[in-house]
């Protein structure tokens, strides 16, 4: 498959709703499954999905924060017996902290890696 072709050639079935149909890449040249107009209509338009509403996203994030706080809170108020092989594992919120920091670090390091190792998509061709 060429890298640009199928996407730019994809037929615009419903421009008003921002829909486009994907080209069929297939398992060996089967006919494409073009959506019927009815099927297409059932799918929310671009920007209208539940997960696309900024307010909903904020709700999700706040819910996430709440759960996070709750999990650390369990540590804080010793709601359960915390058990680990090492002493540091029993610190309050150790895993939370470790998870957060290591993820941020991983991303930041990876961004640096990109400077070294990123090449054009067709570098080897």
């Amino acid at each position: 498959m060429s890298e640009e072709g199928p996407l730019s050639e994809a037929p615009e079935v419903d421009e008003a709703r921002g829909h486009r149909q994907a080209p069929q890449v297939d398992l060996h040249g089967r006919e494409g499954h073009t959506l019927s107009a009815a099927e297409s209509a059932r799918i929310p338009a671009v920007g209208e999905g539940w997960f696309e509403q900024p307010s909903n996203i904020n709700k999700i994030i706040w819910a996430l924060v709440a759960v996070c706080v709750a999990s650390v809170g369990a540590d804080l108020f010793s709601l359960y017996h915390k058990h680990g092989h090492y002493g540091f594992q029993e610190w309050i919120g150790f895993d939370a902290f470790y998870g957060f920091v290591s993820c941020v670090l991983l991303v930041l390091v990876a961004k640096q890696l990109r400077k070294v190792s990123m090449r054009d998509e067709n570098y080897y061709d």
């Binding site: 994907a22 060996h28 540590d75 895993d95 993820c103 991983l106 190792s117």
Partner: protein, 574 residues
């Protein structure tokens, strides 16, 4: 109907005489002769039949054959082999269901031979049998890559084949040397004790994708067909883990190797754009856990390794299946081009989330298996390794699970409106998801299959909460980085990895040497080269059909030769 039943009965009796895996390998040969639903049924029947056949074997069964002077142990049925056999069969069944609509006979046969040979390898009791199966997996699996039919896949497949066959050659060489050193071909615990076992170790290491030996994986898997990658993800590397666990359990060097393996692919996974390649990096990262488990080598650690193999094959298969479905429907799995597919493919989305969660979340397979390895590291006081694995857990969950789900199904809607994945794919994914959850919720069954008795209890409040903290804050970190604009954007790109060494550096060196050589030749080695080409052309000239040696002489000449030879014999004897 009764005839059919009799046929099935006869077939079953025949099959019962074969070692596990052979049913699939032999049955695969028939696949090209069948068409349509018959073929689909046949392809599904083979692994199911194989599974039943394996389950019917009592533990401790053996089967051997004589090959030259060597006694080959085709079947060694112990608990570790049983666990691998079980998960390989399950993976084969799910993958076949997933690939049901793929009507390429070549791909179907190759996939079955590949699965079958991987299963046979697990039951191999000696190194020769292992080698044969080892090479068979290499040779059969490459067709799953070549079946993509494009230039990129062709070349990638060739690189893959060279690496895999190379691994087999090392295994053979190691086996021969090991045999010369010890006189034994048995595939039991080997340990790094000599040059022979060293070569075998490297051979296993290549297939297990050790750091710097890993890149065939990320190179080849994303280039295979939609269905081929699902097969590939299940067998090759896990076979290598099995081989390591069998041959090199407790070899300490494996621990640092595994630790590095668990971390470095994450960096690549973060910035890689092709989501199937992201999964390949993730595969590599999870192999790291297993290698660490083998390296620790205690019963507990080995149990953890086997358990993690079981869980990992299933959930990684599920993730590859969901990305395959996306590729099938949308035509790309590049993160930079995808988004918002949850609207079009809600079921796939849900199943993909289950797969992502199964990496470590409670109630899933990854939770009950991976934690055994991490705990084993702690129990044996490998503190640094413990912390590294913990970090990798958080990273893997985030950048494999979240990233794949988020960029493919949520994120910015790119407007693709496609159909939900085909039914057979959904069934396969659903089956895999059910297994993930089943293992996670009822770990006792899994633990019962492990090679050693298990007294590990995964579901303690402490464990659940701490893991939840780790995972939740990973997600929080992701949300934070996205909001803060620190998260690297998805870019269409190629990332340099160790494959750069053989795809770029070696050719450069080669070109440089060729240049130097040509210069030297121009300066005065010309005559030598001329001589060489002259020799070559002379060889061709005299062997060509019109040359002296390629052309039948007239009878007189042969007669003369007969006389000459007679004379020579007489001369020699006098």
């Amino acid at each position: 109907m009764t005839e059919g039943a009799a046929l099935i009965d006869g077939g079953a009796r025949l099959a019962a005489m074969l070692p596990p895996g052979w049913i699939m390998m032999l049955g695969a040969l028939v696949v090209p002769l069948l068409r349509g639903p018959v073929r689909q049924g046949w392809m599904l029947a083979l692994p199911v039949l194989g599974l039943f056949q394996m389950l019917a074997l009592p533990l401790g069964s053996e089967m051997s054959a004589t090959f030259f002077a060597y006694e080959l142990e085709l079947l060694r049925f112990d608990s570790i082999a049983r666990a691998f056999g079980l998960v390989f069969h399950s993976a084969a069944i799910l993958s076949v269901v997933y690939a049901m609509k793929n009507d390429s006979a070549l791909e179907g046969s190759a996939a079955l031979v590949y699965s079958g040979s991987a299963i046979s390898a697990v039951f191999a009791g000696d190194l020769i049998t292992l080698f044969i199966c080892w090479e068979l997996t290499a040779v059969s699996s490459v067709f799953l890559i070549w079946a993509s039919g494009n230039e990129r896949a062709n070349r990638s497949g060739m690189r893959y084949l060279i690496v895999q066959v190379g691994s087999g050659v090392l295994l053979l060489a190691g086996t021969i040397i090991h045999y010369a050193e010890t006189g034994s071909l048995a595939f039991d615990h080997l340990g790094l004790v000599g040059f022979g076992t060293g070569l075998i170790f490297v051979a296993f290491g290549i297939k297990a994708a050790f750091p710097f030996l890993h890149n065939w994986l990320q190179d080849a898997y994303p280039n295979a067909t939609v269905t081929g990658t699902v097969f590939l993800s299940a067998f090759t590397t896990k076979l290598a883990i099995y081989a390591l666990a069998r041959g090199f359990a407790g070899t300490e060097i494996l621990i640092p190797i595994g630790a590095v393996m668990a971390v470095f692919p994450i960096f690549y996974a973060v910035i890689e754009n092709d989501l199937r390649r992201v999964l390949a990096y993730g595969l590599n990262n999870q192999l790291g856990y297993m290698v660490v488990g083998v390296g620790i080598g205690t019963e507990f650690a080995l149990n953890g390794t086997v358990a993690h193999v079981v869980a990992h094959v299933i959930y990684k298969g599920l993730l590859f299946m969901s990305m395959g479905a996306v590729l099938y429907r949308v035509g790309t799995v590049k993160a930079s081009e995808l988004g918002g597919l949850y609207k079009s493919m809600p079921i796939t989305t849900l199943l993909c989330i289950v797969g992502a969660a199964s990496i470590s979340a409670p109630l899933t397979g990854g939770f009950v298996s991976k934690s055994m390895i991490v705990s084993a590291a702690a129990e044996e006081h490998y503190t640094v390794v413990f912390l590294v694995l913990l970090l990798a857990s958080a990273g893997a969950f985030l950048y494999l699970g979240i990233k794949v789900c988020f960029f493919a199904f949520f994120g910015q809607d790119r407007g693709f409106r496609v159909k939900e994945a085909p039914l057979n794919m959904l069934i396969a994914m659903g089956g895999a998801a059910a297994l993930c959850l089943g293992i996670g919720m009822f770990p006792g069954t899994l633990y019962g299959l492990l090679p050693y008795p298990v007294d590990y209890v995964p579901y303690t409040v402490s464990h659940v909460v701490t893991i939840l903290q780790l995972l939740l804050f990973s997600v929080l970190a992701f949300a934070f980085l996205r909001k803060a604009g620190l998260y690297p954007p998805e870019l269409r790109s190629t990332l340099l990895d160790s494959d750069w060494i053989y795809r770029r550096m070696l050719p450069w060196i080669n070109d440089g040497l060729a240049f130097a050589y040509n210069r030297a030749v121009d300066r005065g080695l010309g005559p030598a080269r001329g001589l060489l080409s002259q020799v070559m052309s002379t060889v061709e000239r005299i062997h060509r059909p019109d040359g002296v040696l390629g052309n039948p002489w007239p009878t007189g000449a042969t007669t003369l030769w007969a006389a000459i030879m007679l004379f020579a014999l007489l001369l020699l004897s006098y």
